[in-house]
């Protein structure tokens, strides 16, 4: 299959490493709709549970592109890792009363807002990253004291149980666990991403500096295909739900109810700037990224 016929219609193979969650649905849709083929790309999607496997694969050139949350990319940038953001991927819904990421508490918890969490234990899937950064920022903005909170790591799938059993007072979770938590009687006290900024870019597609500099044409093609994919996804939520069912194990009845994120084609520069500053403020990075060079 590497011996594709020579000529203008030969497809360039491209591998993208992603996490198999709702956020990456546009990529699957784009493949399904032939957007990548249209751009002359033969797309392969590889999945992993997190950056631990995706980033080295992109650095080594095994994958040409990868999917990662923005704060991780800021940290990589801060550490001098030769990664480049190439495309927007997913953002909060623009609605502070319904988003795909939320801070949940037990149904009978006295906690009403983020400001009530002072001195409590709160979980996120990964610390010193986007989830605790946006929570800290919102807490401090609402007059709480984020430094009094002890954050612990609990993976999203286990967080609701930890809340229910009283092991943590509140937890940041994403879909499908937000819907599941609400259905089981737990309460949302904040839609974390949207509360930080109604239109917060949460994650992005990235590549290695070597690929961006060495094969700009490939990047352009990928960006073009991605743009079409994102637009298509944004316009066709039912198609998004349908495609998610093919690559995740979320039960269909849950899938029908989950809140989908927004799939923007452009970054919200102000929000990204604020996120970078928050990351600096809470010690996640040592220097805030220069957004003008950080974003494509």
């Amino acid at each position: 299959d590497t011996t594709a016929p020579a000529g203008s219609d030969a497809l360039t193979p491209v591998t993208v490493g992603v996490i198999p969650i709702a956020d990456t649905a546009p990529l699957y849709l784009g493949l399904d709709q032939g957007f990548f083929e249209d751009e002359g790309l033969d797309l392969t999607i590889e999945t992993a549970t997190g950056g631990a496997a995706i980033v080295p694969a992109v650095v080594s050139g095994d994958y040409q592109f990868g999917f990662s949350n923005l704060v991780s990319l800021m940290v990589a940038n801060d550490k001098g890792l030769p990664l480049k953001v190439v495309n927007s991927a997913v953002a909060s819904t623009g609605d502070v009363t319904s988003d795909f990421g939320a801070v949940i508490v037990k149904g009978d918890s006295p906690v009403e807002t983020l400001a009530d969490l002072d001195g409590k234990t709160v979980s996120g899937n990964s610390l010193n990253n986007i989830v605790d950064t946006v929570m800290r920022a919102s807490i401090d903005r609402l007059g709480g004291d984020s430094s009094s909170i002890s954050f612990v790591e609990v993976p999203f799938p286990d967080a609701s149980a930890a809340v229910e059993n009283g092991q943590v007072d509140a937890a940041f979770v994403v879909e499908p666990f937000v819907t599941a938590a609400i259905e089981s009687g737990q309460r949302v006290i904040s839609y974390g991403y949207a509360d930080f900024d109604v239109n917060l870019d949460v994650a992005a597609y990235f590549s290695s500096a070597a690929t961006v500099d060495g094969d700009p044409e490939l990047v352009t093609k990928f960006q073009a295909a991605m743009k079409k994919s994102l637009e298509y996804a944004q316009a066709n939520p039912d198609a998004v739900r349908a495609i998610i069912a093919t690559y995740t194990k979320t039960p269909p009845e849950v899938l029908a109810k989950i809140v989908l994120p927004k799939f923007p084609t452009e970054f919200n520069v102000d929000a990204v700037t604020a996120l970078g500053e928050a990351a600096l403020k809470y010690g996640v990075v040592e220097t805030a990224p220069d957004v003008s060079t950080f974003l494509p």
Binding site: K79, F151, E153, V154
Partner: protein, 257 residues
């Protein structure tokens, strides 16, 4: 052996390997590949100071507790299971079942049952480190010398006395083989246990470094793990020499090669 020779044995191969590594990584610019000198500096700046007391020591504490229970339970259960056929038949499939379950999926379950606390992390350590001791003890008990066994029986040495004076000492060489394994597995599980529901600890910190692309720091953490493992091995050897002095005496008569 002269102390000088002892030191030469201790550091000889490591020095050779470090030199090799230095030579191989000399031209490398890869972000993920560590370099000896850089790593040594990072090791110093990263782990000496607060982090030692806030992350390393608590982790070591949990490790110690976990190993204590893993070894203790492993020996007690091993003696029971090894010497009671019906118990072995009853439990073996079940134990094998649990032994095969990867910690990353076991941890959430333990979290559910125990909670997000030190006990859970200790439980994770026990859940993995118990097996070498348990299996070795069971196998050792099953292989005790038949003539010695007959000697005990004929002198009416049974029950607890039999365990204490016969079975336990007879199995100790094999138990020690298991303990040696358990030490390093316990260390590995200490790291894994801190990858979930954690906010501090050696393992947590290493994972943070890895996730945050602090690659030299991550490698330095791994070196710390290796050094702790080495430390445990040295303590172990010291203890083993004492506990098993009869065994080494017995075996050393002709061990010339």
């Amino acid at each position: 052996m002269s102390p000088l020779k002892r030191i030469a044995y201790f550091v000889g191969l490591p020095i050779v390997l470090i030199v090799l590594w230095y030579a191989l990584s000399f031209g490398s610019t890869n972000f993920f590949v560590p370099k000896p000198i850089e790593l040594a500096q990072t090791l110093w700046t990263t782990w000496i100071g607060d982090r030692f007391f806030e992350d390393v020591l608590p982790s070591l504490g949990r490790l110690a507790v976990g190993l204590f229970f893993a070894i203790g339970l492993g020996i007690v259960l091993g003696l029971l299971i090894g010497s009671t056929r019906w118990l072995r038949n009853l439990l073996e499939p079940l134990l094998e079942f649990f032994r095969a379950i990867p910690p990353p999926v076991l941890v959430p379950l333990l979290m559910l049952l125990i909670g997000v606390n030190d006990s859970m992390k200790v439980a994770v350590i026990i859940s993995g480190a118990i097996w070498p001791v348990l299996l070795n003890t069971v196998e050792g008990v099953r292989a005790v010398d038949s003539v010695l066994n007959d000697s005990c029986r004929s002198y009416g040495i049974a029950g607890f006395a039999r365990i204490r004076y016969f079975v336990l000492p007879a199995v100790t060489p094999q138990i020690m083989a298991g303990v040696r394994q358990s030490l390093s597995i316990g260390l590995i599980l200490m790291v894994i246990s801190e990858m979930f529901a954690s906010s501090s600890g050696l393992g947590f910190t290493i994972v943070q470094f890895q996730r945050n692309f602090a690659i030299p720091e991550m490698w330095s953490g791994i070196v710390v793990l290796g050094l702790i493992g080495l430390g445990l091995a040295i303590i172990f050897q010291f203890v083993e020499r004492r506990v098993l002095h009869w065994y080494h005496g017995l075996k050393e008569i002709t061990h010339d090669s």
